[in-house]
């Protein structure tokens, strides 16, 4: 019984949260890796693009709530996502047209484009603060839990409860659907293949008659879709605060690089690698071992490798270790 309790405890505090957090990172990392593969620069504005898309999801949610539309048990934000996506796509294409395309046509080196993206990041950041402000916003409505901790305890008679939030299940479900559609698109459709070809060998793609403008446009569209979905899921699961999206840039880049930058499947798996590492390393195992070990060996300390305040240190360390020892990433991508 103690063993089951320990597993439930771990599921509740580590596995379930890591799965949903990992999914959010995975979607973001695919966006970053696609932009890197096609446009060949690290887009630091991606975190704020996520915040931008999420902001519109929130604004549309408020609008729907004000006119009395809701999805019942499901969050209204789900209804708002498609509208937010459209705005995020238009916004991305606009930025590309007025900022990035200039440097692309000039054939600027990737470092210049990365620096330009930092500028874009500050601009988007400010736009968001002007429109919605820097504060924490909760926009979740509907049924919060699928299983509550005490319901679970009553059901199973265990000491430990397993709470599953509806947003966690929603995140996982949406991620599986979106990722499946995306990989189908990249591997099976003519346009998707042309994107992979362009990312693989730009010159040869041009010689084959693949239009670079079209490939770039579709990349921005996909990146904006992923950013809005990932951002909104993150906001629903936790809360929306523009600054946290900027912070999430680090684990997202770490995920993309761990997975081998330019490799979408790698980025997807990299998201989970980073999320699990962050949460496994910052979890306090005291209670977990208390269940498993005999009383005499019960730990006195928290048995926490790192305080949760340092969770970004985990992604950063992984980033550095991967770049030092396996720059092409675990799942083989381009070398940065």
């Amino acid at each position: 019984m103690d063993f089951v309790n320990a597993i439930v405890l771990l599921s509740n505090f580590v596995i379930v949260p890591a799965l949903s957090y990992g999914s959010q990172l995975a979607l973001g990392a695919i966006g970053v890796t696609l932009i890197y593969g096609i446009l060949r620069f690290a887009n630091f504005a991606y975190g704020d693009l996520m915040a931008f898309g999420t902001m519109f999801a929130i604004l549309f949610t408020w609008f729907f709530q004000s006119i009395g539309i809701s999805l019942g048990v499901l969050p209204t934000a789900l209804l708002a996502i498609p509208f937010a996506i459209i705005i995020a796509i238009l916004f991305s294409l606009l930025i590309d047209k007025f900022v990035f395309s200039y440097y692309r046509i000039k054939k600027s080196p990737p470092v210049t484009l990365a620096m330009v993206s930092i500028g874009v990041m500050f601009v988007i950041n400010s736009i968001i603060r002007i429109i919605i402000g820097p504060f924490d916003r909760r926009f979740f409505d509907g049924e919060r839990f699928i299983i509550r901790a005490n319901e679970f305890k009553e059901m199973t008679g265990l000491n430990e409860g397993l709470a599953i939030k509806s947003t966690q299940v929603l995140t996982l479900f949406v991620t599986i659907v979106v990722a499946s559609i995306l990989f189908w698109f990249l591997n099976k459709t003519r346009t998707g293949k042309s994107m992979r070809a362009y990312s693989d060998n730009e010159d040869l793609a041009l010689l084959s008659g693949i239009s670079p403008e079209r490939v770039v446009m579709i990349t921005w569209i996909i990146a904006a879709i992923l950013a809005t979905i990932a951002g909104t899921l993150y906001g629903l699961d936790k809360s929306f605060k523009p600054f946290t999206y900027f912070n999430n840039l680090l684990p997202i880049f770490a995920a993309a690089i761990v997975g081998g930058i330019g490799n979408p499947l790698g980025a997807f798996l990299g998201g989970y690698v980073i999320a699990f590492s962050e949460i496994f390393i910052t979890y306090a195992y005291k209670k977990f071992f208390a269940y498993l070990l005999p009383e005499s060996l019960e730990p006195n300390s928290l048995i926490q490798l790192l305080s949760t305040d340092y969770k970004f240190a985990v992604s950063f360390s992984i980033l550095v270790i991967v770049l030092l020892f396996r720059p092409s990433g675990i799942f083989k991508g381009r070398v940065l």
Binding site: K193, D200, A205, L207, S208, G209, I210
Partner: protein
């Protein structure tokens, strides 16, 4: 008038002219090879024909149509296909996907062409689901040729198709190139292996410092004492 020709092409990469009044032409069903010492402007002439170089003078025509001002991509649409010397396959994609990308500009069903190419290069059919990056050098060159042929080109340009492959594979590749000629494509290639290239070529050009130095049929050039002495090693 030849099917595809560049006449009196003069130009370079912005600095001094690399090619000077250089004339190269090829007809359908013909293999023409461009030879010359290093730095003679062989690849530059090829790039000029492809439109990757701004010419100061000269005119490029295909089927009597002037294409001197078309971009490389528009020339692909005119039926000119090019196989670069290096990085000529999509390494992260399967053989079949490589071929599909070659047919990217074709909207109609290209299954027939795909089968034709598998007929021409049986090994590609066998390995169609393997990543092109995992193939041997000779097989990769076949993928590269196949990709270029998917567009059903009327002119196929090859930049050193046998660079870096073993002599046996080289013979095999030349045989493949002869088979491609039989389908009625005009083939223009730059080659380092001058003797073998001339032996399969219908005509050849020898460029020196960007100018036509010799030209003639493959046999004539092979037997020309001066060409032999300077380029074929006696």
């Amino acid at each position: 008038m030849n099917y595809f020709s560049g006449e009196k092409m003069t130009g370079g990469y912005g600095g001094p002219d690399i090619i000077n009044s250089c004339t190269i032409s090829v007809d359908k069903g013909e293999i023409v090879t461009i030879l010359g010492p290093n730095g003679a402007g062989k690849s530059t002439a090829m790039k000029a024909l492809l439109g990757m170089l701004n010419l100061r003078e000269g005119k490029i025509t295909i089927n009597e149509k002037d294409i001197s001002n078309l971009s490389p991509q528009d020339r692909v649409k005119e039926g000119i296909s090019f196989v670069p010397q290096t990085r000529n396959v999509f390494t992260g994609m399967t053989v079949q996907e490589n071929l599909e990308m070659g047919a990217y500009l074709r909207d109609e069903n290209f299954q027939d062409t795909l089968n034709e190419i598998y007929g021409l290069f049986p090994v590609l059919k066998e390995k169609r689901n393997q990543l092109a990056g995992q193939l041997s050098g000779g097989q990769r060159q076949q993928v590269a040729l196949g990709r270029a042929l998917m567009i059903k080109p009327s002119v196929l340009m090859l930049d050193e198709p046998t660079a870096g492959v073993s002599p046996i594979v080289m013979d095999e590749l030349f045989n493949h190139i002869i088979k491609v000629r039989e389908t009625g494509v005009a083939i223009l290639m730059v080659e380092q292996n001058a003797r073998q290239a001339l032996s399969i070529a219908d005509r050849g050009y020898v460029l020196v410092t960007g100018e036509n130095k010799f030209s003639g049929s493959g046999k004539e050039l092979l037997n020309d004492p001066e060409v032999r002495r300077s380029f074929l090693g006696g």
